[in-house]
Symmetry: C2
Subunit: 304 residues, 2 copies
């Protein structure tokens, strides 16, 4: 199977701490890197955790609060200085383009490097990127300003040819691609062998859902249902559920309830309020509801 | 004497490295903190080096390149979130205000906290701040875009009263302030005792000059003459003097020549190109010309 992982670059909420930068993470599928949110210091964290800045061609921005975007100007400048070519695609609220262009006014002209902004739809689920391996969709969350979650889903894999059957029926190379796609095979004697007899099942399709910043929102359950990994913000412990509601954030217990109800495989909580010097209590609280919960810490890598 | 020091928060040039953040430093005089430039991650460095963000009320921005300003939005947001009151004064090119206001659009309203922008004059030396202890002046440097240096000078100190003379002439408390300011004293017998007989000399007045980013510019020599500490950029070693000239930067040798010709006490070089994994060679190069040279490293504190 291809490597499919999520690396946490920042796990704090609005204010960074000595150990937690603001929100940013890298979704990595088969050496392709997709950046999700870009808080201040993202370029520094990318370097620290050995991730190649030049490999990032797509950035997904959940919303326009500073702790999710203030790393963009520096990251883009560094890409340009490092001679990056081609297009960098940023998926965000439409206003980001203007905000960035004002700030980048004095950055030197980029020769063969262009930033392309793609406006998100904050009203409904939508496919925003599809490449050979992956589909990325956005879906509405509910925060103080327009905010989206993202779901990264592998495309269906091919069936895997059985070496014993290839030999038994002496299947020519040119027919193998079709069989992996589900076609049957006709032997020289005219016998039809169905694909499922010639192959092992395809690798399961994996998916990752990213949800921050938002009030606890049951409407997302059908969207995040059975994902392999759910990242959900848990800015507060549940004793501050009133504050969470007021500031449009989620508690650790609520995040765990969503994970349980959506039957996801694993939950990672993050976007911790800087008041928590140690987030073990938040993880403990969540594990009462959903045992397979882990804290996001800067530098952590979660494999799907 | 009051504590007068400079703490380096960032010593890299355009691109941060694993050990060097972009330009920022704190000038500290008697517990008052003055921030100079504000590259990405400045708020993180302030925290790391134990400097109280809430104590900063004045920020001096040399020019509008990203590696000197991209930390401002996050720093201001954090100040606001931490409940800072009153005014934060930012001294910069007049365009910064508009650039920042676009980016800060989605930051919540600050109740009793206001950012006040003061435009710098890039044509001539000018006093930009004067408080009870300090005078800050800007002066023109020469870079690809308008750029200023800053000079921080202590105000003249009072003369120090001699305890033996106070006793000898039984000087009343209410007359002592005038004597420390240079007034003479009349004894009950009508004798006039000049101030210099009653006092020790005042502590020497110290000054700090900050010069980045700029080509080597002899015109600054009268301004930085005999400062206690000169911070000057040395983006490149002298074998790259052509590149330095082309990009409007200075070499280590050139910075040392300025320090020598201006008869400063100590030179700190910084704003190192990320190509230098080890900057010892730059310091060695400078010390050939000006022995009292040191490298700026993130976290270093230089006392005046």
């Amino acid at each position: 199977m291809l490597t499919f992982s999520v690396t946490i670059l920042g796990s704090s909420s609005a204010q960074p701490t000595l150990t937690r930068f603001p929100t940013s993470q890298v979704v990595s599928l088969n050496e392709r890197l997709y950046l999700v949110d870009c808080g201040e210091g993202t370029q520094i964290q990318l370097r620290k955790f050995g991730m190649k800045i030049g490999k990032i061609n797509h950035i997904f921005i959940s919303h326009l609060h500073g702790d999710h975007i203030f790393g963009l100007p520096g990251l883009i400048s560094t890409m340009a200085l490092a001679g990056k070519k081609g297009e960098l695609h940023i998926y965000s609220h439409s206003e980001l383009k203007m905000m960035m262009e004002h700030l980048m006014k004095y950055i030197n002209e980029f020769d063969d490097f262009k930033v392309v902004y793609h406006p998100l739809n904050f009203r409904k689920r939508a496919v925003i990127l599809e490449d050979s391996k992956l589909i990325v969709e956005s879906f509405p969350l509910k925060h103080r300003i327009p905010c989206c979650g993202f779901i990264f889903s592998e495309k269906p894999h091919e069936l895997r040819l059985r070496p014993d059957k290839i030999e038994q029926f002496d299947i020519p190379i040119k027919e193998r691609v079709a069989i992996k796609g589900g076609a049957s095979f006709q032997t020289s004697e005219g016998e039809i062998i169905p694909s499922q007899e010639l192959t092992f099942p395809a690798d399961p399709v994996r998916s990752y859902a990213f949800c921050t910043d938002t009030v606890c929102r049951k409407q997302i359950l059908p969207i995040i249902r059975k994902v392999d990994l759910l990242y959900h913000e848990a800015t507060f412990a549940h004793d501050l559920s009133d504050l969470a509601l007021k500031t449009y954030h989620t508690t650790a217990t609520q995040a765990a309830e969503l994970a349980r109800d959506a039957e996801v495989n694993k939950l990672v909580i993050g976007h911790f309020s800087s008041r928590y010097k140690n987030v073990a209590s938040l993880v403990d609280e969540a594990r009462v509801v959903f045992p397979n919960t882990f804290a996001a810490n800067d530098g952590d890598r979660f494999e799907l």
